[in-house]
């Protein structure tokens, strides 16, 4: 499989990372290089093998569904680049 510039642009868009047009050819080359390395996996016979979901055979523990924490608004907002009136502030999202 080979990645062209438009696929590279699409991946950058999906990852929400701005990539300038003139950087796309080099990015596509890098992807192809890494994916070429990954292609080796096609040599392995994986018929009937389950994809691993957990490296230690364990059932995820469950806990009681109850409130254990909360009411920490100032702490939650303390590191925000832009917090106003007790909320995170972002550019306008609806017209």
């Amino acid at each position: 499989m080979s990645i062209d510039q438009s696929t590279a642009a699409k991946v950058a868009k999906l990852a929400r990372i701005k990539v300038e047009d003139d950087a796309l050819p080099a990015l596509a080359d890098e992807f192809n290089n890494i994916l070429g390395f990954i292609e080796q996996l096609n040599e392995v016979d994986v018929t009937g093998v389950e994809p691993m979901t957990s490296v230690t055979p364990q059932r995820l523990k469950r806990r009681v569904d109850e409130v254990t924490d909360g009411s920490q608004q100032p702490k939650v907002l303390a590191n925000a680049p832009d917090a106003r009136e007790g909320f995170f502030a972002v550019p306008k999202v609806v017209e």
């Binding site: 992807f31 996996l41 995820l60 972002v90």
Partner: protein
């Protein structure tokens, strides 16, 4: 006592309990060493006030006869651990200015055990790298040099600052994290000991996530005994990490008898790579001889899917990273790009992430995005997870056949020079993890032990891989090898 910063954890602990020194004296010696070592760029956020405050409290506890196991011992904390009120930015620009309102479970356990935090340590950005060259703080530098050559060498990565600081005696020990080799490779490059425990031994809560199914914390120390002392403090079940194991933590130090008679040590033939330097091959066979001389039985084993570990890792780790790093959006913490008139929220995300992430992180996030995208999920991600099942089975088969531990080289070479790999393609750098990455994929414990020097005077390490949850037995085998190897070399101080 002089040169208190050069002590290990065990020696310093014993000296403190005998009253030969105080935690304040130990801490001051380390702070002085840290201030004189800016050339190594290991400590990137120094916390002398916190350190002295904790040291004084530790001295009070020791005086009162209430000294937990690491009481008064000064250590460094990798920047990946969230530390309350202290910058924790995973060596990334995107977390610039972030000061957590909470403490990671592991660093809290270390504090509760009385240890003294000296500051935060350099690393590769988001722990993605094998040379500490992707850090927003700039390179960490190894205290080791090739003879009289003044070229700067890598301390390895991603826990490069931790390795450099421990090797240069800036602290008694340090925390590291290991997703594909990030504790063991830097330990091997710097003549220090580093253990990655079984997946689930240490809580991941409060550690900035890279690849959640692979990440584990562990200690980086000056001896195997020190690793046993510190690992015991770091381990344990935590309700805040649903993958942390509800298992009792043994007294690892008490298990260091040095007696490995009758233990079966496997030598995997697939780790004998084409083009392996003769020095590494010799180190490996010397290590096997040492264990044999100590009474172990050496057996040849096969781990047939070894070759596919690295490509599987470079699907799984970026896939998980692309998901974990989606949280860095310029809204809740860290960096936000300056926007132009008319920019909406999508532009804010895209510009913030382009400015905040370095090139290696961007590359991995995008590779991860690609392998998880519609149409490729099965071909890449699911296939890699199937191969991971086979890699784990390779180990299970070998352990079921009676093997107690596996001996391999820790790295394919000694430390390389900073900048020497710049022109190489990313895959060349990834090959650094070829001997370590299998262990993360299988969730096993692995320890790197310094075993010799190469012809240029640089340290080389061997890796021992153990059975799940058998860190105590593994450390005991490592202890026997440490005793036999008698590695005592230290870097000449040039900084």
């Amino acid at each position: 006592m002089s040169d208190l910063n050069k002590l290990g954890l065990a020696e310093a602990r014993d000296a403190l309990r005998k009253g030969d020194t105080t935690s304040v004296e130990l801490t001051e010696a380390c702070l002085k060493a840290i201030d004189a070592a800016d050339a190594l760029n290991a400590f990137v956020h120094k916390t002398p006030e916190i350190a002295l405050e904790r040291a004084k409290a530790a001295d009070e506890r020791i005086k009162a006869g209430d000294a937990p196991s690491m009481c008064g011992l000064p250590i460094g904390i990798k920047d990946l651990f969230c530390t309350k009120g202290v910058a924790s930015q995973a060596a990334s620009r995107i977390l610039e200015g972030f000061k957590p309102e909470y403490e990671s479970t592991v660093s809290q356990k270390l504090a509760d055990a009385g240890s003294v935090m000296l500051g935060k340590l350099n690393m590769d950005e988001f722990a993605m790298g094998s040379s500490n060259e992707t850090s927003a703080y700039g390179n960490a530098v190894s205290p080791w040099r090739r003879g009289n050559d003044d070229a700067q060498l890598t301390p390895g990565g991603s826990s490069g600052g931790s390795a450099s600081a421990v090797a240069a005696d800036l602290c008694l020990a340090a925390t590291g994290t290991d997703t594909g080799g990030s504790i063991r490779q830097p330990a091997a490059f710097t003549g220090t000991v580093g253990i990655k425990p079984t997946y689930g031994r240490c809580s991941r809560w409060g550690i900035v996530a890279f690849a959640s199914s692979l990440d584990q914390a562990g200690p980086m120390t000056k001896s195997v005994r020190d690793a046993a002392i510190m690992l015991e403090v770091m381990c344990g079940h935590d309700p805040k990490d649903s993958t942390s194991a509800e298992l009792a933590v043994p007294d690892f130090e008490a298990m260091l008898t040095g007696d490995i008679k009758g233990k079966k040590i496997g030598i995997p033939k697939e780790y004998r790579m084409d083009g392996m330097p003769g020095e590494i091959e010799k180190l490996w066979s010397d290590g096997a001889e040492m264990l044999k001389a100590a009474g172990a039985e050496i057996v040849d084993i096969s781990l047939p899917h070894t070759k596919y570990a690295l490509p599987a890792y470079y699907v799984i780790a970026p896939a998980e990273a692309s998901s974990n790093l989606a949280r860095y959006d310029g809204v809740r913490y860290g960096h936000r790009a300056l926007l132009e008139a008319g920019d909406g929220i999508t532009e804010m995300y895209e510009k913030t992430r382009a400015e905040g992430f370095g090139s290696e992180v961007q590359r991995r996030v995008m590779i991860g995005t690609y392998v998880l995208s519609a149409g490729f999920y099965d071909a890449y991600y699911n296939r890699a997870r199937r191969v991971r099942t086979l890699i784990k089975k390779d180990f299970e088969d070998v352990f079921a056949a009676g093997v107690d531990a596996i001996l391999t080289p820790a790295t394919p070479s000694a430390a390389f020079g900073l900048g020497e790999m710049t022109e190489a393609d990313p895959v060349q750098m990834y090959l650094n993890d070829v001997f370590t990455v299998t262990v993360n994929l299988a969730g096993l414990p692995g320890v790197a032990v310094p075993a010799g020097l190469d012809s240029q005077g640089l340290p080389l390490g061997l890796q021992l891989i153990g059975k799940p949850w058998e860190e105590g037995d593994l450390l005991n085998t490592a202890y026997a090898m440490e005793n036999a190897a008698g590695f005592v070399a230290k870097p000449q101080q040039w900084w």
